[in-house]
Symmetry: C2
Subunit: 641 residues, 2 copies
């Protein structure tokens, strides 16, 4: 089963949980982020990104560049990701004012493009002679990739070609440089590869495909490239280690790669493009490499929350089974990239494990990246926070106990916005006559193959999912691996549909109703004993949600709580007023009474208690307090009687 | 009770466990380390320290400096610490050949002293004009301090004054610079203060006392000093952050200090000198500061092994209760410095807690710093090691699973050597008519007050300690806080002596025998629930020894083992052949069977087992394997029936 692809976004009208999030992006996040781009958001770090484009346009015209360039070398990408998010949002929430704003920004961007098609404000403003001379750190191709994604998204949403034409011209320029003139090397930060694939799929432009193939097929074939490039110039943008091929995934030809290594966002953006290309070209060898990399991530290097890249040093994958909770990096963008990778793997082969991971990453790390009001963001997603240590201890400075407003390096907030507003593409897919339901996302959906239905569900807090079929065909619904039991009814009658690789396949006719019931019972999770930090501990989950224990629900102290192994665990009523609507879990637990001394030879007093958990994605929304996902587990004398 | 001081080393003739270690230092460590100093040790990092002195002597004579200076800015101190260790060893093991070697080295060192008394090979060889212009990083005073300690030790051991005269001249030079010429500032790395105090106590030289007072009383009164000093020069030795007053304990006047901060070795060397000065001058205010700093370390920032300075970043104290096992720094030298500090606190007031900590640091972290054969050394002492992660993961690079031979920065190995060979000074003390037994160290001891006895014990593996009194008086023996029960017999008859602040006081006559019986039963230890990494875990101890679980005794895998809370724990027979003589502990435990997946929703199979522990100081002597001090603790269904 292959080459099934995401639906047109305009054909998914979200409701329910996903609907609320998409509305939040539209009402709060997109306007707020635009005000940041314009440097009009109070208290946010300076962006200057729009002014960078304006100043670059002056440089293109040979004029004085005013206050020049400000920000990270990849500042342009903030604008690109914002346009992309806005474009996705326009499908669900048409908005002429927003379109006018985007059109204006696109005009500004178009003016910043050089005559030859080059587009990057950092080098255009600062020094044109340095173009393409620092692929390691320069991020020119990275910024192009993001703008290509934006161009595709905006064209799909509005039919307006201006940015698409700008980026086709940009792609042609890159083609000239890297293919015709055979400029050597590949991007330090992968991203353009997946942007080029999107451009190719949308426009059929062969240069885009050829360029994506070029960057993927040559990467790692010359492990000395970045060192040579570094030696050839006497300047840097930021001091990146040119010889750390592991960091930039450039040490071995990608088709031979065995392990996911290095900067986690770079890795998953690259692997996404590899999977995209392998499905496009039915390239089995490339797909096998993707599968090895997928397994390396999801079977040895992933948090239970779908977080990846466990170490702050290089924002990177560490070694297998090194998954500390307290010093975790687990960047929001990396989990978004993991969703990209998962969705492209699904286009190669429909297997539940890809969608399972996609769902885990979405409902836990990605959503945790944003405050419930859409106004503050986490870049780093630890699985344990202890005020006084987190954000303060030298080794925990990156693990903040509360979300900051905006970052100087603002990759995560707009990434969350574009992911959520395009969720339909991840939730639904199709392949010939089959409609795929990868995620349980309420609302109405139409497929290119003619099928359509309305999905009704209170997911992730309700576990009944109903599909009211308007136009029938073949329906493929994922049965999540976490669901110990499940039931399927067709028009009220229990059926036992064919299950293949985690999906159940049902032929449906117009007017049918398919009702899926998943296992909504809370459950304990256990980690491999190969993970030193987690061996012997337990976590609690319900549906796709990993739960956590916060001080707010537990008398201010979760460190002294142990869960009773195999003890009682129960879900409360859904509380609309709590944390934008959630369900707490209550778990049988024991609390140790702490003495004053660091160490003692007397067993601490232990009392029975109930520990209360909330979904991980909601943590840090009630002020600074302790938070812990993985809990000590003790057997209980009461349970054992 | 105050101003009790360590005995003359020549009056302690060690036997038993301490005797073996002192012999190992004499037979193996001192010769090996000398071969390193001469660059004749195969496989060790280059030292060049003796050649540095030879080359500095050339510079003093105005000759070409040959191959110049090599090594760390504080390379001189390696020679100093070696002389000091050799000197202490000579008390126990007179050795004319060793004396000839030391004399030769002292001649070389003396030749490197400038006419004005300045002594530091780095600046003498490299650039005399830079003297005293980089107190932050230059380590001139640090090297002087160590050479002062060496000079005192060698004079005490042999009566030879040459190095003492060199260092008195050096002290006079420092006095000229910092007192007469009022050169501002204090040393970036404290050490000279305690060296000066030793010089003063030995020689009565008032300049030494005045200098120590000067550096202690002025430190921190001008928190801007290091920044100004940095701004005044256009060169660095290594790039130290001049504005990090916390790192170099220079942010507040020391008398006002509340918390132990920064580089742990710097901290405890400084606090040692403060405590030394407060006892010398009966300076109550200074002593109160020492007490606050002592409590800050031992009640909030110390590992159960007596390790301190938990973070690799700055080799420093972190924040309270941040005591990770796996990424611990816990430098060997810092625990040695903690013993110094404890011993000086005992000179201010006799309280068991000082000696308890001193004992814990010695028997666990300090001894762990050296391989049992005396040939390899740990700088860093983690409480958990997992091959594949430790020493490999970016955040665990410093936590090595086996001891290296010699370090470029070789502070720890010679520090271990001088500590062990001078152990008598820490074990025994006196005050007027009272002989203090702080540590249980077998062998014969004579006190200046005329008392003498022979201590017989198999400690730390036997818990009977007998004192055969030759010359009587008042005996004060510590009762360790860990000893739940104890008994004292005087000439075979049970007595209930006065106990004050952790010591029992007994009047003894010539020919008496005092027999102390301590609690040798193995015991569980528990950590405060304020320590996130340790809450809910348990460790096992016996006597002063913290135990650890190594793969070698536990089927290669300790991560899957949980101890049964309050379960059976038993000590085996003392095994002379094992790890240079040790006793294993066996603990009732459970082993989880690991599945292949990272996470699972099925409770892992758990089977009863026996976990075997060995003393922490012996770990890593049987090849690379897992090691863990703090274990998960589960209640057992069997125990609870």
């Amino acid at each position: 089963m292959k080459t099934q692809s995401g639906i047109d976004l305009s054909s998914y009208r979200s409701e329910g949980f996903i609907g609320r999030y998409q509305r939040l992006i539209k009402d709060t996040v997109i306007p707020y982020q635009y005000s940041v781009l314009c440097d009009k958001a109070k208290g946010a770090e300076k962006s200057h990104v729009i002014q960078n484009f304006i100043n670059a346009a002056k440089a293109v015209r040979g004029e004085d560049v005013g206050d020049g360039f400000y920000g990270m070398v990849f500042q342009d990408s903030d604008a690109a990701k914002w346009i992309e998010a806005a474009a996705y949002s326009l499908h669900r929430f048409p908005d002429k004012d927003l379109e006018v704003t985007v059109d204006g920004l696109i005009d500004i961007i178009a003016n910043a493009q050089d005559e030859d098609g080059y587009l990057d404000t950092y080098f255009t403003v600062k020094d044109k002679d340095k173009r393409w001379k620092n692929l390691l750190e320069g991020h020119e191709l990275y910024c192009s990739g993001h703008m290509m994604e934006a161009a595709c998204a905006y064209y799909e949403a509005t039919g307006k070609r201006k940015l698409l034409d700008v980026m086709l011209k940009n792609a042609a320029h890159i083609y000239d440089v890297f293919i015709k003139q055979a400029h050597e090397g590949c991007p330090g930060h992968p991203e353009v590869e997946l942007g080029l694939m999107k451009m190719y799929r949308l426009t059929g432009d062969k240069k885009c495909l050829e360029l994506a193939e070029h960057f993927i097929n040559t990467r790692g074939t010359d492990p000395d490239f970045f060192r040579r490039e570094r030696a050839s110039r006497d300047w840097t943008v930021w001091e990146n280690n040119a010889e750390d091929n592991s960091y930039q995934q450039s040490g071995v030809p990608l088709r031979q790669a065995e392990n996911a290594t290095g900067h986690a966002v770079r890795a998953v953006y690259l692997y996404t493009a590899m999977a995209d290309l392998s499905s496009q070209n039915s390239d089995r060898e490339l797909f096998e490499a993707c599968r090895r990399l997928w397994n390396s991530i999801t079977r040895k290097q992933m948090y239970i929350t779908g977080g990846i890249g466990s170490t702050v040093l290089g924002e990177a994958f560490s070694v297998d089974y090194d998954l500390p909770s307290d010093t975790a990096y687990a960047e929001t963008c990396a989990s978004i990239g993991l969703m990209f990778f998962a969705s492209r793997m699904l286009e190669n082969e429909v297997r539940g494990e890809y969608a399972d991971v996609m769902e885990t990453a979405f409902y836990n790390t990605v959503l945790a990246g944003m405050q419930l009001d859409g106004k503050r963001f986490f870049y780093v997603n630890p699985l344990e926070v202890v005020p006084g240590i987190s954000g303060v201890s030298p080794t925990h400075r990156h693990d903040l106990p509360e979300r900051p407003q905006w970052y100087a390096c603002a990759c995560c907030p707009p990434n969350v916005a574009r992911l959520i507003s395009s969720l339909g593409k991840y939730a639904y897919g199709e392949n010939g006559d089959t409609a795929f339901c990868h995620l349980f996302a309420g609302g109405s959906v139409k497929f290119r193959n003619g099928m359509s239905f309305t999905c009704k569900t209170a997911y992730p807090y309700g576990f009944d999912v109903t599909y009211d079929i308007k136009k029938g065909g073949r329906l493929a619904v994922r049965i999540p691996a976490w669901s110990g039991t499940y039931g399927v009814k067709l028009c009220g009658k229990e059926i036992s549909p064919e299950i293949k690789d985690g999906y159940c396949y049902i032929d449906v006719a117009d007017g049918d109703t398919v009702a899926l019931t998943l296992d909504g019972s809370p459950r304990f999770a256990y980690a491999s004993t190969k993970i030193p930090q987690l061996s012997g501990k337990t976590a609690v989950c319900r549906g796709p949600l990993v739960y956590c224990f916060e001080g707010a629900d537990n008398g201010g102290d979760v460190l002294s709580i142990s869960l009773v192994g195999g003890g009682k665990i129960s879900a409360g009523e859904y509380d609309e007023a709590l944390l934008c609507g959630t369900t707490k879990l209550t778990v049988q637990a024991l609390r140790r009474t702490a003495g004053d001394s660091l160490y003692s030879f007397t067993a601490p007093d232990t009392a029975e208690c109930e520990a209360v958990a909330v979904p991980y994605y909601t943590w840090g929304n009630r002020g600074v307090n302790q938070m812990r996902v993985w809990m000590d587990e003790k057997d209980s004398p009461i349970v054992r009687k």
